[in-house]
Amino acid sequence: MSDATLFGLCGAALVGLGLYGLICHPGALRKLLAFNLVGSGVFLLFGAVARRGAASGFGGDPVPQALVITGLVVAFAATALAVALVVRLAQAAGRTDLDPEPPARSEATPERPS
């Protein structure tokens, strides 16, 4: 198994983990963290593809590498915008879950029925 395959599998597992967090965390900031994990997993899949394309004396195919750099900067910009939305939601509503019909604050229980 090459290092490209190993880290490619690692990227696939990160996408799965991030997706799980995205579904199972009610808090918007936690969803954002999980979504960033999905993003880095996708980038890592790209990195594995770039590594496999190593040729002509380069350590990897430079085209996917450049795309990942572009992707990282855009991901940061999107995260900054999303964080500002979450903070604004917290200021306006005093909470950060995305449930359209919130339970009364006192009724919040550790186990919410699905």
Partner: protein
Amino acid sequence: MSLPAPVDLGLAALVLGLAGWVITTSATYRAAEGFVAYGLVLALVWVRLGSVDVALTEAALGSGLTGLLLLRAAARLPADDPAETTRPGPGVRVVAAVLCTAVAGALAAVVLLLPEPAPSLAPAVAANLSATGVGNPVTGVLLAFRAVDTLGESIVLVLALVGLWSLAPDDAWGGRPGFLRGPAAASPLRFLAQVLPPFGILVGIHLLWIGADHPGGKFQGATVLAAMWVLVLVAGLRQPPRVTSRPMRGLAVFGSLVFVGIGTAGAWLAGAFLAYPEGLAKPLILSIETALMLSVAVILGLLLAGPPEPDDAAGVRS
């Protein structure tokens, strides 16, 4: 089938372990801390994948600045937020786990079934790199072969800033960005913010300059510059500029304007939008990179500084 090197196995285990911690830990603040460590280990993975350019970006931007953003946000959220304690029932979690495992399994199958020999654009880049005058293939791709992606990205950054500012309440417009305000900084932090920036600015410029031939470039340099600015803001040595400040807005769009200007000139001088006249490629690429680094640094700093807040909320610092 040969086994991967032990260091690779260790890094993969660390990355997955930290990602698991980010997902499973109960407090948002601890999850954000875990994300910073995760980003740093991921940067090492990128080094192992032979991509030092991406490793630098991941360490500085993916781990450092994103981590600061998330930690600041986690600290600002209400402590009694019901989203901190509620969790979906076990049924939902089991179904989600099964579905996410299926997605990860499908992606893993794709990784294992990638075509042999691997398709690669590396020979095409190597054959044409000398025409651009730069020696770093990633810089060549970013500024010459796929310059249109980089142009689009520099415009996306401006749009993100516009979007961020438009989240301000009406009475806050014209105020100063408020995310980085906090209680008065301790004296060691103020000292650090006085000593470090000169060195950080040198490192940023160095990263830009060597980016033509070695790993580095404008994004990495801009991230270091933005980090220095943010350090000064967090320490309270300077106030962020008002969002109505025209010089700052001008600086934020300067890089994109230079890029569009040179790209449009290429339509006449070199026969295509974003093409460079022969022999002038390297000076033009360096001009674009320098202008973009300034703008990207300003925009990254402003994105971290958040939307404007009313002036009366600024009483913490005077």
